[in-house]
């Protein structure tokens, strides 16, 4: 007669269960241990960072003090930088005025009288030229017509606004010049 031993199966099941519980408990402790390790490492790292922060603060104060002790030099350099930035633009516009003046002075030949020579704020030049001699006026106009550039200055416009003749005063011309750039 065959018999079935149910007790043996139960004992195996209990054994298996207690093994699972054992591993569950063990892994819980291991996990707790690892967690505490993470906690300790994090705390230690925080302490290291705090120490670094203190060191950096000391270095910062020292560097700050040094920079402040040299602030006189910095002030002067900032002053120079500030003024030179403005100077650059002013000097660039100055150069143009000088060139225009020189260029137009070079255009005026002998025998021509110039009146009302005006350089306006845009750098345009207007003046009236007069002479009793037709030859002088023609030479002046020919010279202007053949000149497209004086030095670095290139004419963008040479405009003769009017030509008048008076038996007593001779010829008079209204002229306007402007330059490129």
């Amino acid at each position: 007669m065959n018999s079935i031993n149910f007790l043996k199966d139960k004992a195996v099941a209990i054994q298996r269960k207690s093994k699972v519980i054992f591993w569950l408990n063990l892994s819980s402790f291991i996990f707790l241990g690892l967690y505490i390790l993470v906690l300790v490492v994090s705390f230690s790292y925080q302490l290291i960072l705090k120490k670094q922060a203190d060191d950096l603060e000391r270095k910062f104060q020292a560097a700050k003090q040094e920079v402040e002790s040299l602030s006189g030099i910095e002030t002067k350099q900032v002053y120079l930088k500030n003024k030179l930035t403005s100077l650059q633009d002013i000097l660039a516009s100055q150069k143009e005025n000088q060139q225009i003046t020189e260029a137009v002075f070079n255009l005026i030949p002998e025998g021509i009288a110039i009146n009302g020579f005006i350089i306006d704020e845009k750098g345009g030049v207007s003046f009236s030229a007069s002479s009793k001699s037709f030859r002088a006026v023609k030479d002046f106009l020919d010279g202007m017509e053949s000149t497209s550039q004086i030095g670095d200055l290139v004419f963008s416009q040479i405009k003769i606004k009017n030509i008048n003749y008076d038996a007593e005063k001779g010829y008079s011309l209204g002229i306007y010049l402007s330059f490129k750039g």
């Binding site: 707790l32 705390f43 602030s71 021509i112 020579f117």
Partner: protein, 236 residues
């Protein structure tokens, strides 16, 4: 039933402990660690900047920078240069042998809102002389301190023989100056290095003609031009 769950007591307690520790300790520690790490990174950068800046400041030749400041101040002053302007024009007209007359000064007001921007005022005057002398006067006018720019020129020739006769020219000139900057910027602002163009400008304006020194009879102004900045910095 209780017996059944009793065996899970330890893992349960551990889970509760971990949860509590996470809330009470780990979270604040991690938060603080992250913020400290970021702060340290920023502070390290700041310290490196300051150290670099102080090295650059130490390398500057004090005498050289002072002479540059004087050269710039002479040509592009921080205050309205009325007296110096008149002295310069008088000296230049004497040097260039032209008659100097009919001066009209429009000093205007300082625009306090744009302190660091360029300030200017107009002056108009007439000079009389030979074409060559006038041409030379005009040429040198813009190379004379204080900084000037011819804005308008009105020339009348008296006779046809332009080289030998006297001419009269009316000039409208803008005179420039600029108040010094209010502050030197932030502590960690980089030390401003002058570009080659700016160094060239200093060389160019160093050759500007200056009027003979005017000595005031009464005590005026500050002895140390930069004294207000130093005091401000110490106060910060």
């Amino acid at each position: 039933m209780i017996e059944k769950y009793k065996q899970y007591t330890i893992p349960s307690i551990i889970i509760v402990v971990i949860f509590t520790l996470t809330l009470v300790l780990l979270k604040p520690i991690l938060g603080k660690t992250l913020s400290l790490s970021k702060e340290n990174k920023d502070n390290a950068k700041m310290v490196a900047k300051l150290v670099e800046k102080s090295e650059k400041l130490k390398a500057v030749d004090q005498a050289e920078i002072e002479s540059k400041v004087l050269a710039v101040e002479n040509v592009f002053p921080s205050r309205k240069p009325v007296l110096n302007l008149l002295a310069s024009l008088e000296q230049l007209s004497l040097d260039e042998q032209v008659g100097f007359a009919g001066i009209e000064l429009k000093p205007g007001q300082i625009d306090e809102k744009v302190k660091s921007k360029v300030q200017n005022f107009d002056i108009s005057f007439s000079v009389e002389g030979k074409l060559n002398n006038i041409s030379s006067f005009i040429n040198k006018l813009e190379k004379t301190s204080p900084l000037m720019r011819i804005n308008k020129m009105d020339l009348n020739m008296i006779s046809e023989s332009s080289l030998s006769s006297n001419l009269k020219i009316v000039l409208l000139v803008k005179v420039f100056y600029q108040l010094p900057p209010d502050d030197v910027g932030k502590l960690d602002a980089p030390f401003p290095i002058l570009t080659q163009d700016e160094v060239n400008i200093i060389e160019r304006i160093s050759a500007f003609k200056s009027p003979p020194a005017l000595k005031p009879n009464a005590p005026t102004g500050k002895k140390d031009f930069f004294s207000s900045f130093s005091n401000d910095n110490q106060g910060d």
